[in-house]
């Protein structure tokens, strides 16, 4: 690994509930036993990594996106804004111009191309970030405000914030949203390696295929962690072998791991089975990153 630049590792999955947060929090705890590590919860619609991190936020900041605001006194109702908005977020309705902030992508087209400067961009709060430091572990939570529909602007700003404020954290982990749509693409963008969490069931396999297709489309380096290994069938394993996709670790299906998780505990500290899987995962990620 290039020591001068932080290594960014995303933990993602197609299917929800396959263990992204289990892997993220335990891997972060494991790494921070030896070296500085940053964990960022980018599952902004339902961030839950904080449950496993001790301590209170030492810093909280509001995050904004820019939304045009109609200045009636300057507007000549020329209609340019409505024509220029690709997202149909700015409409001219009779003698008024209405801005639908839930559709706005903050592209500035309406504002910049308005001949009368009647649509100045104004900040609109979309979420909050919280930061705490716990020994060698830095933690950052990103939480989307209620009623906000777009996760991507917050995720993009969270990445920028990390680049500005945590450039000396040599290992950075990003707990991503589930699925394969825009929020996942924004969350995994600019990361060096993606860990795809899955489970050995037909549902796990179906959504893993979609996630792999997405990562290949993005030209990402990735590998798979099979969680709850021992239940279901061999199809996920067979698929990974036939597609030559590295299986980074197998986390056994184990009642004690589930109990610790349900109580908000970091199982890697006391549970040897999980500790073995997480250490194997870390070694395998390092090997893949060092190979080129």
């Amino acid at each position: 690994m290039d020591k001068s630049k932080p290594v960014k590792i995303a933990i993602a999955s197609g299917k929800g509930g396959t263990g992204k947060t289990l892997i993220s929090t335990n891997l972060a705890s494991y790494i921070s036993e030896k070296t500085d590590c940053l964990l960022v919860d980018l599952d902004v619609e339902e961030p839950n990594s904080k449950i496993f991190i001790e301590g209170d936020f030492s810093l909280q900041e509001e995050i904004f996106k820019a939304i045009p605001q109609w200045d009636e006194s300057r507007c000549t109702l020329c209609g340019a804004c409505t024509t220029n908005c690709k997202f149909h977020a700015v409409l001219q309705l009779g003698t008024m111009v209405a801005v639908f902030k839930e559709l706005c992508h903050s592209c500035y087209a309406c504002s910049e191309l308005c001949p009368e400067e009647a649509l100045p961009m104004k900040p609109h709060k979309i979420g909050e970030i919280g930061i705490l430091k716990n020994g060698a572990l830095n933690f950052m939570e990103c939480r989307l405000s209620l009623e906000e529909e777009q996760a991507v602007p917050l995720i993009n700003q969270a990445h920028e914030y990390v680049n500005q404020h945590f450039s000396d954290s040599s290992i950075q982990l990003f707990d991503c949203p589930p699925g394969t749509s825009c929020p996942v693409i924004a969350a995994t963008k600019n990361t060096d390696f993606v860990v795809l969490a899955t489970e050995p069931t037909p549902f796990g396999l179906n959504d893993l295929r979609l996630a792999i297709e997405t990562m290949r489309g993005l030209n990402k380096k990735f590998g798979v962690v099979i969680n709850r290994y021992g239940i279901g069938d061999d199809e996920v394993e067979n698929y990974c072998i036939s597609e030559e996709i590295p299986i980074l670790a197998r986390i056994p299906f184990d009642r004690k791991i589930a109990e610790d998780y349900s109580q908000g505990k970091i199982a890697v500290r006391g549970n040897e089975k999980l500790r073995k899987a997480i250490s194997e995962l870390f070694i395998n990620i390092e090997n893949h990153l060092n190979h080129d």
């Binding site: 149909h88 977020a89 001219q92 009779g94 559709l103």
Partner: protein, 112 residues
């Protein structure tokens, strides 16, 4: 009175398009002149976002008194339509424009 149908075609025999935002045609029947006029809305299929507001903008400019449609407009489109004084009738699935108009006259359509 102007009645607007979300339609799959431009004739009385065309079927209602159940979708509002992505309706292929917007057809207006003017009860004063007995004139049926169709507006092609199929370009909306190229829109990844904001189909509902794009169609609502067109409907706003057509200023109908009544809308007859299927699923009904979404939340954002409805905000726009609520600026007009109009009545929206939904659930006209699988009916031709003619059939849905008859049901409207007989007060058999569900009002939103």
């Amino acid at each position: 009175m102007k009645i607007l149908f979300t339609s799959t075609g431009s004739e009385w025999d065309s079927l209602i398009d159940s979708r509002f935002g992505r309706a292929e045609h917007l057809v207006i029947f003017d009860t004063d002149t007995n004139e049926l006029k169709s507006y092609d809305n199929s370009a909306v299929k190229n829109e990844a976002h904001g189909a509902g507001t794009a169609t609502a903008q067109k409907v706003f400019d057509l200023k109908p008194d009544v809308i007859i449609t299927g699923n009904g407009p979404g939340e954002t489109a409805l905000k726009i339509l609520n600026l007009l004084e109009l009545n929206i009738y939904v659930d006209a699935h699988n009916l031709t424009l003619k059939e849905s108009y008859e049901k409207f006259q007989n007060e058999q359509l569900q009002k939103l």
